[in-house]
């Protein structure tokens, strides 16, 4: 018996808009399996997103879905969650949406530790607008706006989230479809602000310009350059160079924002 994704998909909305080989479809499937695995009620499930390729995802999911303005999904998500804390709110977006135009909202949502699951799809590029460099585009990489190679420095999204105070931070890739599903589950179950950074390929906007044109090649690249956190911690800086850790990178228990607020003001 094949997996029944249709249960969480809106009828008639697939095929999605993403390009051939885009990793976002792989992430969407992992999200569906995670949500299904947790037995979540669709009526209590909210997806918010900003603008960009990743942010089109909520339109496909049969839930309460809110496709907002560029970078602002966490602001909307905060309003929804504070109005109805009983809802499960998943806010998602791409690297540009969450860490460039939405960077301020991202770090403050981390700091606030509000019980929202934040999924950041990191494909190292602005895909929707045709391949401009983003805050995560590697140094020297080509983009339409870095025709001589990228001069800019990169955000490490997971480290940014940890530094800003998120109480659960993980990273995965589209190669690791099943571990990704498990990390998303953990993130949803975690009480507090949880971030999962998911490395994905953009063959059209990034790969073609950077000798990684094959979608499968981009997935193989993720496999070759990602290292499990346990192993990562045993590696020297030299061994770590050019690679990145995956798995649960940070987890702590600390008061969740709305619970703390309600206790303070006498609402609980």
């Amino acid at each position: 018996m094949a997996y029944d994704y249709a249960k969480y998909l809106r009828a008639g909305k697939i095929p999605h808009i993403w390009c051939p080989g885009c990793g976002y479809g792989i992430i969407m499937k992992s999200i569906i399996r995670a949500v299904d695995g947790l037995g979540m009620n669709k009526d209590d499930l909210v997806f918010t997103s900003g603008i960009g390729c990743a942010s089109r995802l909520p339109g496909y999911i049969d839930a309460n879905t809110l496709h907002t303005t560029h970078g602002r999904s966490l602001g909307f998500a905060t309003g929804v969650k504070m109005a109805k804390p009983e809802l499960n709110v998943i806010a998602l977006g791409g690297d540009g949406d969450m860490t460039a135009i939405g960077g301020n909202h991202f770090i403050h949502a981390c700091r606030r530790n509000i019980d929202i699951t934040c999924l950041v799809f990191n494909n190292y590029i602005y895909g929707m607008t045709g391949g401009q460099y983003s805050p995560t585009t590697p140094k020297a990489a080509r983009a339409t706006t870095s025709p001589y190679g990228n001069s800019d420095n990169q955000f490490d999204i997971a480290q940014l989230a940890i530094g800003a105070g998120a109480s659960f931070v993980a990273r995965s890739t589209t190669y690791h479809a099943v571990p990704m599903e498990k990390l998303i589950k953990q993130a949803i179950e975690h009480k507090g602000f949880s971030v999962v950074e998911i490395i994905a390929g953009c063959p059209t906007g990034y790969g073609r310009k950077n000798k990684l044109a094959s979608p499968a090649g981009m997935i193989e690249w993720q496999k070759a350059n990602s290292v499990n956190k346990v192993q990562w911690d045993k590696m020297t800086a030299e061994e770590q160079a050019g690679k990145f850790p995956i798995g649960v990178l940070h987890q702590e228990e600390k008061p969740e924002f709305i619970e703390a607020y309600d206790a303070n003001v006498g609402l609980s």
């Binding site: 018996m1 697939i14 095929p15």
Partner: protein
């Protein structure tokens, strides 16, 4: 070794990205007219890697 009873490929959903073909560890899939196709069902070990990594909901593997 697990075996597949059937590999269903929805040609209308397949965008021809070749992820499934290239990542198949046993060379059970191939491209045909720019779409994924089953090359040799007997080779399939039902590892599910193609189904998991198909971004387009275009492959379903039915285990025996």
């Amino acid at each position: 070794m697990a075996k597949a009873e059937k590999i269903e490929i929805y040609v209308n959903l397949c965008k021809g990205c070749e992820i499934c073909v290239e990542l198949c560890p046993v060379d059970a899939l191939e491209m045909k007219d720019f779409k994924a196709a089953v090359k040799d069902l007997d080779k399939c070990i039902a590892c599910m890697q193609c189904e998991l990594r198909c971004p387009d909901f275009a492959i379903e593997v039915y285990k025996q």
